[in-house]
């Protein structure tokens, strides 16, 4: 179970994120009257990069992630998007495996996950549209279908659970040997966010995401002796952990 302090800190961070519209959108107040400019179908393309992933990699040395996306501005209303990313993570040291007495991180175990992921979806702009400008701020709701099609896992250092029977150390260790393989995961994401121009085509944005896990493929070895149920997927995180995600982007608008 996630500790209460984690929930408290996440509520604080959510409140801070909700302050965002006060700063970004108020700075973009348009005092001009509504211009009855002609609406066109295609305004341009955003290419953005997630700075939040870089920040997370700097904070957590077990994790490296990077992702970018391409969004097309259609009528300042619909923004079809394609995201792609890569993540490496050793999730084992974060957990107290086989240690029910305290909160010490486990030593000597490995659960490495690495792979690429793709997300496809669309954002819908809910703000008032200014068709006279190519680049405008927008606040949106959106969704993504995501897939990590062929990511790899490496597991080592874990032992069989046996308090009654003596552990088998015939191979010099009571730990199960290194196991590796590939798996696949699908999930959905629901997004709320904003993006605002800051300087000559450059924009900054922030998104809050609610993730809904769909499936992750279990993997059996050829002898049916081992069944691996990966709990972590690159781009999603731990499927047993929180469902919230965050993206903080810098982008450039091509038109």
């Amino acid at each position: 179970m996630i500790g209460m302090s984690t929930y408290i800190w996440r509520i604080i961070s959510l409140l801070l994120l909700l302050c965002l519209p006060c700063f970004s959108l108020s700075a973009e107040e348009n005092k001009d009257e509504d211009k009855k400019a002609e609406k066109i179908f295609f305004y341009g393309v955003y290419v953005d990069y997630d700075l939040g992933d870089l920040l997370m990699s700097a904070i957590n040395s077990q994790r490296f992630g990077t992702n970018a996306s391409i969004e097309v501005d259609l009528m300042h209303l619909l923004y079809p998007a394609f995201e792609f990313g890569y993540e490496e993570y050793d999730s084992a040291p974060d957990y107290c495996y086989n240690n029910t007495s305290g909160n010490e991180q486990t030593q000597g175990v490995t659960n490495d996950i690495k792979g690429i992921y793709y997300k496809l979806g669309v954002n819908i702009n809910l703000l008032k549209k200014d068709y006279s400008k190519k680049l405008t701020p927008y606040g949106f709701l959106g969704f993504r279908y995501a897939v990590a099609p062929h990511y790899s896992y490496d597991i080592a250092g874990f032992a069989l659970n046996s308090s009654y029977w003596p552990l088998d150390d015939s191979n010099g260790s009571d730990r199960i040997e290194w196991l590796s393989g590939n798996s696949k995961a699908h999930w959905m994401e629901f997004i709320a966010g904003v993006s605002t121009p800051i300087y000559k085509g450059f924009c900054m944005g922030a998104e809050l995401r609610f993730k809904q896990f769909l499936s992750i493929r279990d993997v059996k070895d050829e002898n049916n002796l081992y069944l691996i149920s990966p709990s972590y997927a690159p781009g999603y995180g731990d499927k047993e952990d929180g469902k919230w995600g965050f993206r903080y982007t810098i982008s450039y608008f091509f038109h």
Binding site: M1, I2, S5, T6, R10, I12, S13, L14, L16, C19, L20, F23, S24, S26, A27, L55, M56, I59, N60, A92, D94, Y95, C96, Y97, N98, N99, T100, N103, E104, V109, N111, I155, F158, A159, L160, N161, S162, Y164, W165, P166, L167, I176, L179, T196, I198, M204, A206, N224, L225, Y226, L227, I228, S229, S231, Y232, E240, D241, W244, F246, Y248
Partner: protein, 229 residues
């Protein structure tokens, strides 16, 4: 005051810089304060046995004396008086073996000539020495009426007499599957029962009701119909 001296572009830049700072705080607070996680799944896959009478197969029985010891383990499980028992299979091997120690059937009691030498002081017993075939033996373990002696003899004691228990070995053959659940839980070993058999065949007959042994709570697996009960 300094903010008021800036032009529109400068004020916008300051507002955006403040937004960046607020967002960065949000990211940091959201993710650096995570607690370490413990395993929430049950990592115990016990096998279940229920005891019934062989004479009336619907009648549930609770053997008055039942001790089990896994061959390879040092620990003895005392299931005396229980109609339904749960115990762990060996995750390292496809065959788990358990020594069964029960009360013998009345017509099959064999007495053992264990002699005792009791040292008393008034009404207090100071020590008891045991002898078998004129050789002194010592108690290694005593559970209820079962005595385990240093020469590996096991006897039951009642009404001043030692007698041999009903001893048999239950051999359980199964397919194993080591299931990796997560980083906090590690491996869970589940079993698919294939064959159960008593070595001597003197305890009773066996029926496998459900061959899947998992961490599901309160599952039923095997019925044993005890002879002469």
């Amino acid at each position: 005051m300094l903010y008021g001296l800036l032009n529109k572009t400068g004020r916008n830049a300051v507002r955006k810089g403040w937004m960046f700072f607020v967002l960065s705080l949000g990211v940091v607070f959201a993710f650096v304060s995570c607690d370490n996680e413990h395993c929430d799944d049950s990592m115990y896959c016990p096998m279940e046995i229920s005891f019934y009478s062989q004479i009336d197969t619907s009648e549930k029985l609770a053997p008055p004396l039942l001790l089990m010891k896994g061959i390879g383990s040092d620990s003895i499980m005392n299931f005396s008086g229980k109609q339904q028992i749960y115990f762990p299979l060996n995750p390292n091997k496809e065959t788990s073996q358990f020594l069964f120690l029960m009360e013998p059937y009345a017509e099959k009691i064999k007495y053992v000539a264990v002699k005792t030498d009791t040292l008393r002081s008034e009404d207090e017993i100071l020590s008891i020495k045991y002898y078998l075939n004129d050789e002194e033996i010592f108690i290694k373990n005593k559970i209820g009426k079962a005595y385990m002696f240093s020469n590996d003899t096991i006897c039951l004691f009642q009404n001043g007499n030692f007698y041999k228990p009903l001893l048999d070995t239950l051999n359980i053959t199964s397919d194993l599957c080591h299931h990796f659940l997560s980083s906090e839980c590690g491996y869970l070993t589940t079993f698919t029962l294939k064959k159960l058999k008593f070595s001597q065949g003197g305890v009773g007959s066996i029926l496998i009701k459900n061959n899947s042994v998992t961490n599901k709570y309160n599952d039923r697996h095997v019925n044993i119909y005890l002879e002469n009960y």
